[in-house]
Amino acid sequence: MKNEVRHLRTAGGLSQAELAAALKVSRQTINAIETERYMPSLPLAFALARFFDKSIEEVFHADGSS
């Protein structure tokens, strides 16, 4: 599933470690989500969307479109 996490994070001037600390996950998990090697749970996906003040559909693209 494609996502906008890296784009949103860099636009906000955040490092992976800072985003990970804010969401209480490891930096490796943020990296795995950004590189689409790991699909987050629904609670974490919502937490990411809320953190960036976006809807979940704006962060994650179920149909694979960017």
Binding site: V25, T29, Y38, P40, P43
Partner: protein, 131 residues
């Protein structure tokens, strides 16, 4: 809404647990009249504990220590445990068959296989009821 983030374990907890396992290991061999083998097996436990304790830069070691636990590491741990169980069950089945083919009693391996299957069934039933 909270993300599924288990509490990280203290850094030394897992290495300490593995190191402490050396004591009952040595005692078991000592009681069995073979303290030399107990020292060897106990030393292996301590060696593994040391690797866990000092291997801080390796992501895999950090995963083993449960240091950066979150939902992804929990999923990795679950999958790794599943693979471990499959490897053990295959080994038990092979040992059961080889022992039987040699004309020896494979009861121990059969009981362990039975334990694995019963555990699997009970776990499925409990998890199915809870989810």
């Amino acid at each position: 809404m909270q993300t599924a983030a288990p509490s990280p374990q203290p850094r030394r907890l897992v290495p300490l647990f593995v190191a402490v396992l050396a004591i009952p290991t040595f005692l078991a061999f000592w009681i069995g009249g073979n303290p030399r083998a107990g020292l060897i097996w106990g030393s292996l436990s301590v060696l593994f504990a040391l690797i866990l304790a000092v291997g801080g830069r390796s992501d895999t070691i950090r995963l083993l220590r449960g240091e950066d636990d979150d939902e992804r590491t929990l999923e990795l741990e679950t999958r790794a445990t599943m693979l471990t169980a499959v490897a053990l069950i295959v080994a038990l089945a092979v040992l059961f068959l080889v022992t039987a083919a040699r004309g020896d009693n494979p009861l121990v391996y059969g009981l362990l296989l039975l334990l694995a299957e019963v555990t699997h069934l009970v776990a499925l039933a409990v998890l199915n009821r809870r989810s």
